[in-house]
């Protein structure tokens, strides 16, 4: 995945490094780069290493922005994602290129040379031969694999990704800029190729056709069309359409996984996902229904915690603050610093500082001193109030909704702190369910966003695989279908790697919080599992006990029979009690047989089974599973009603 890094050197750099002839010093060595250029050179950082990944990243960015947009106005999100496959001709006509016929076939990568052709024909002949043989032998004939179309570079598919939400929309005038350079995350998608965007705002339809060209020194988006229209349907939100080069076949499962995990962590949202292909049999259409109308609270804006700031940030805060002196600055720009605490801190800073020191006059050295003290001093931990976790309830609903497991347990740990940043770990563990593979299925979320890549090194994966003794919770790590869901929410997620796709395993605070949360879930599950095992034992007890009757009585009867024969032989008469002798006598005269022993033992088993069933019933009583509220979505949000108007009132009759 990271291999792109080295090859993505900009042509300018490459020249500098490799050219041996001395060059004249250029006038401007330092050159400002447009966002478009930057991303073009660092595609892997943005998640655009290859066509497949960029399709995935585009979907991801659009969906996440759509959710944010709806949540910011406290609207239950409804997000529609459509991916349409576009063939080259259609694409060319879109960007105004004329589709040219190939004249010199040998120029192209997918041109079949004479040698390759020979090879292919031989292979096909061999295949047909074996097919004929198999058919003659009456074996099932394999479907002939349709000759894979050899895809050249030029043949890469293009996709139109459309994402429609019911969020806040965007202001008309900002739209071109946002797509051009402002909204960095979205803009990533636009660099890949030509882009069109359509967006709507509250009252007025804004229609904007917009393109960003990958041209050096070009910072300004190309606006093809930008106009306002009337909004007749009272719709609000944004509909964004992007056309990019992508690869559906290789990233199909990743995109579907992403949508599914998103549905797990945001059960209050409704998603509609469609893939429209050139060939209709490949079409996909999945609806992720809403399961609750409880949305997590919008995170509160919070001040910085003194342990979490760095030098640059302090400088920035000083630049932005409206406070005049140092005391006020400390007291108001940071959390967990009270007035007296601030005074003590200032006293500790040294003789150069006083409460009255104007903040803006602080020298660089003084700022370094403040930073040092922040690092060393002890502050109260920041509270987790500023975080917006998914909520245990929602996580649970999401798991139930998307996986339909046999059992599920969830747990939310209280907020903890890592380097001045509060974090909350929420975990869920499920057993069984649909579309879950055997063994561990790990679902990772960071700030309520699914993480799909670089799973191996992640703290959650490591913890679940290595540090949880599943056996002790009566869970079989390889046989059971285990779903592990861990959502970490923090003001700063300590991502590792360039792609922001995993959280390192080296932060002991987070690792131990993850472990405790998963263990808590397991403990909850264990009691359920034990109960289930007991119930199963109840059902299977009689069968298990009866299974061995023949073996046991057969063995005992065998000994008795041998003994009775010995006993009958006068010379070897055994020295035993009379009643025992009598029993042996009965065995020889076949008054006691194996069948009689088996029958008696079976009767005993029956009786024991009955007694135990009674005991189980009295112990467990009539117990019902706790009930859960279910969410029913209203089919038609608009009520049908008839208004009866009178001069003084209106009487509204709902139907």
């Amino acid at each position: 995945m990271d291999s792109g890094e080295s090859s993505e050197e900009s042509p300018a750099q490459a020249k500098k490094g490799k050219s041996k002839t001395p060059r004249k010093p250029k006038a401007s060595v330092l050159k400002q780069k447009s966002p478009a250029e930057f991303f073009a050179e660092n595609k892997n950082i943005a998640g655009f290493d290859n066509p497949g990944k960029s399709l995935y990243t585009t979907v991801r960015e659009l969906v996440e922005n759509a959710l944010d947009s709806a949540e910011s106005i406290a609207e239950l999100p409804f997000v529609e994602v459509t991916i349409e496959e576009i063939n080259r001709t259609a694409f060319n006509s879109m960007i105004g290129l004329i589709d040219r016929e190939r004249i010199d076939e040998a120029l192209y990568g997918d041109f079949e040379t004479a040698k390759a052709r020979e090879k292919r024909l031989a292979k096909e002949a061999r295949f047909q031969e074996t097919q004929a043989k198999n058919a003659a032998l009456g074996k099932k004939v394999k479907e002939p694999t349709s000759g894979k179309a050899i895809k050249g570079r030029g043949e890469a598919s293009f996709y139109r990704v459309t994402c429609k939400d019911n969020g806040r929309g965007m202001p008309h005038d900002d739209i071109p800029n946002m797509f051009g350079r402002g909204l960095i995350q979205i803009s990533c998608s636009f660099i890949w190729d030509k882009v069109w965007a359509e967006a709507n705002t509250w009252k007025i339809w804004t229609w904007c056709k917009n393109g960003v060209d990958l041209v050096k020194d070009e910072n300004i988006p190309h606006i093809h069309l930008h106009e306002k229209r009337d909004d007749k349907e009272h719709w609000h939100g944004a509909e964004i359409q992007v056309v990019i080069e992508g690869n559906w076949t290789t990233y199909r499962s990743k995109i579907l996984h992403y949508m599914r995990q998103m549905a797990v962590i945001t059960p209050y949202a409704q998603f509609m996902f469609r893939f429209i292909s050139n060939t209709s049999d490949k079409n996909v259409s999945i609806r992720f229904a809403r399961r609750t109308d409880v949305m997590p609270a919008v995170p509160l804006e919070t001040k910085y915690h003194p342990s979490a700031v760095d030098l640059l940030l302090i400088k920035r805060l000083i630049g932005e603050t409206s406070k005049l002196n140092l005391l006020q600055f400390l007291q108001h720009e940071f959390v967990n610093i009270g007035k007296s605490h601030a005074e003590r801190l200032i006293g500790e800073m040294g003789p150069d500082f006083s409460s009255k020191t104007p903040v803006k006059s602080l020298t660089s050295q003084q700022i370094v001193r403040i930073h040092q003290l922040f690092r060393q001093a002890k502050f109260d931990d920041p509270s987790g109030d500023c975080l917006s976790p998914a909520g245990e309830y929602n996580l649970r609903l999401g798991i139930i909704k998307e996986l339909n497991p046999d059992m599920v347990a969830t747990y939310t740990a209280s907020a903890q702190v890592f380097e001045g940043h509060p974090f909350i770990v929420e975990a869920g563990v499920s057993l069984g369910g649909k579309d879950v593979k055997q063994g561990l299925n790990i679902f990772r979320f960071a700030n309520r966003i699914p993480l799909l890549f670089e799973q191996g090194a992640d703290v959650v994966t490591r913890t679940a695989m290595k540090r949880i003794n599943w056996n002790s919770y009566k869970i079989n790590q390889t046989q059971d279908k285990i779903g592990v869901f861990v959502s970490i929410v923090s003001t700063k997620i300590p991502f590792k790697g360039t792609g922001k796709e995993y959280i390192g395993d080296d932060i002991s605070e987070i690792a131990s919080a993850v472990k405790t949360s998963i263990k808590q879930c397991c403990t909850q599950l264990k009691s359920k599992i034990v109960k289930r095992i007991q119930a199963r034992e109840q059902q299977e007890r009689k069968r298990n006990l009866s299974k061995y009757i023949a073996d046991a009585t057969g063995a005992i009867y065998g000994i008795l029979k041998e003994a009775s024969q010995l006993h009958a032989n006068k010379k070897k008469r055994l020295e035993i009690k009379d009643e025992d002798a009598e029993l042996l006598q009965k065995v020889s005269s076949r008054l006691i047989t194996k069948e009689i022993l088996s029958e008696k033992l079976a009767q005993h088993v029956e009786q024991v089974d009955y007694e135990m069933a009674m005991e189980y019933a009295t112990q467990s009583g009539v117990r019902e599973e706790p009930r859960e509220d279910i969410y029913l979505q209203s089919l038609e949000p608009q009520m049908n009603f008839v208004d009866f108007h009178s001069p003084v009132f209106v009487f509204r009759l709902f139907q």
Partner: protein
Amino acid sequence: MAEKRKRRRADSDSDDESVRLPFKNRLKPDAAILSILKTLTEATKSASTSKTLTLSDLDLSSTCREVTDLALSSVQTEIQTLAISLAKSILAGNGFSFSVPSRAATNQLYVPELDRIVLKDKSSIRPYASVSTVRKTTITTRILSLIHQLSLKNIHVTKRDLFYTDVKLFQDQTQSDAVLDDVSCILGCTRSSLNVVAAEKGVVVGRLIFSDNGDMIDCTKMGIGGKAIPPNIDRVGDMQSDALFILLVEKDAAYMRLAEDRFYNRFPCIIVTAKGQPDVATRLFLRKMKMELKLPVLALVDSDPYGLKILSVYGCGSKNMSYDSANLTTPDIKWLGIRPSDLDKYKIPEQCRLAMTEQDIKTGKDLLEEDFVKKNPGWVEELNLMVKTKQKAEIQALSTFGFQYLSEVYLPLKLQQQDWL
């Protein structure tokens, strides 16, 4: 010139010698070592004339269970009586159950006077009509009936044979093996009296002559491999020996070295190994040798917790077989080497020592808690040293000074210095 070179070579040869075989120069002539050994043998012989203690001689607060060798006919009668009582119980409509002496760790007791582990009298009921025990109970009846057949026909079979008579029921051999020990406990007899033996594992070589099922065996004339210890101790008799001591070796490799070097001819001894954890036959054989020949037993094991554990199994018995510890243990085994203190004493180079794993250290610490280690202060000291240095070494570490260092320098020196615990 030639002479000079020759001399130099001679010099360097001698240099090599002392470097390659350190401490060799400290060795006294064999005769001196032999006289030391003789006094040891004499002392052992005179000490062991006193009668060995048995459980009944002691006045223990808790009652203990011990099994005895039973004649075949009594085993047969015992089984029949048991079967009759089971049948009666079934006919009375009560199902049936066994009372099985518990062989769990909590039911074990180390008796310092006897220097071995014995089984306390706790036992558990194994009823047929219970989901948790139904399988084991069935296996127990099956094993009982199989043993009964053996007793009727008077033949011996191996544990593997027994397992294969009903693979479907037993599922794997550990299950039938465990139940076999249970049956020994239920009937109160040794496992040998059930006519079930384990496959041959142990070997013996050296100054020993004994009869195996009537054939006289001279263990000096058994080649390098030695004589396999008969799985059935009843076959063994008429032991004679002119050895001065018995050398117990943990591993096959060290045993082979000593056998090939004919160590027993230089210092008259009997060399025994069970190739790792000792089986019942080897333990019985060692005890028989010790009892009849009254020779001192010296043990050569690895310097790791498992070496000491193996030593303790020979000496005090294993927990699994503690019901028969009276017949299986050999008292007064001396720990000759390789001891943790030897690593520095014999300057075993660092690269031949291994770091102990977490598990090793844990085992070592657990051993320190065991009574049979505590009773010997020398052992405690050595084990403490091992846990402290966190280093272990196998007998083979001595090969770093040459393959024959073990038989030519290390062992003779150890014997000369009477360096055993």
